[in-house]
């Protein structure tokens, strides 16, 4: 299990709040399923970090995942 200090923990929770908001609005995927998958993904990506995960390392993983708003089908531009 990864260890997070307060800053990264808050950053992560804000990411999940955004994820839930986007997926509830979209209505196509199950937000609980996706959140569980993303938590697993982050856990695996940071498994090799010894000690608490710092903000820049967490940011690197979140950047590689992309913003939740980019994951869903966006309306086609004219």
């Amino acid at each position: 299990m990864i260890e997070l200090t307060l800053g990264p923990q808050q950053r992560l929770e804000s990411h999940f709040a955004e994820l839930r908001r986007v997926l509830v609005d979209d209505g196509k995927a199950h937000p609980g399923d996706v959140e569980r998958d993303i938590r697993d993904h982050i856990q695996t990506a940071l498994a090799d970090v010894a000690g608490p995960v710092d903000e820049s390392r967490l940011d690197q993983v979140l950047r590689s995942l992309g913003a939740p708003a980019e994951w869903i089908d966006s309306p086609e531009r004219p």
Partner: protein
């Protein structure tokens, strides 16, 4: 003022911004086309990644990252997997992992396998048709 003299007097960033917002570098239609193509192909690629057997989400992302330009953010696959589950194309199982917490593995259902065969056939037809069109044009 000509373009050449503008270039001379502007800082590089200003010149870039001028070009970026001018008609000659308007990439809107291209970007939109890439987004649409990528969207359909990503679904096809996720199902193909599951063809050999069960896969962990993290490993699917790693495999798809090998395909240049297919995926912008790795998180994109998870809402698709969730939708595939609802559609009955994949199923998920939680399995203990020696490396840490239990992991969720995805596998194709029988319906998913049948659907994938049809999708691959459709893609092959379209792809070979486009190649033929390009060959004929040269």
């Amino acid at each position: 003022m000509t373009c050449k003299s503008t270039r001379f007097f502007l800082r590089p960033i200003d010149y870039y911004l001028l070009l970026r917002h001018s008609r000659c570098m308007d990439d809107g239609p291209l970007t939109n086309w890439i987004v649409q193509v990528r969207k359909g192909l990503l679904e096809l690629c996720i199902l193909n990644a599951l063809l050999p057997g069960r896969q962990y989400g993290y490993d699917i992302v790693k495999q798809l990252r090998e395909i240049d330009g297919l995926m912008i953010g790795g998180g994109t696959i998870y809402p698709i997997l969730s939708r595939f589950r609802t559609q009955g194309l994949v199923e998920a199982t939680i399995e203990e992992s020696p490396e840490g917490p239990a992991r969720k593995y995805y596998r194709l259902t029988t319906l998913g396998q049948k659907c994938l065969i049809d999708m691959n056939r459709a893609w092959d037809r379209i792809h070979s048709g486009v190649l033929k069109l390009r060959r004929d044009a040269t």
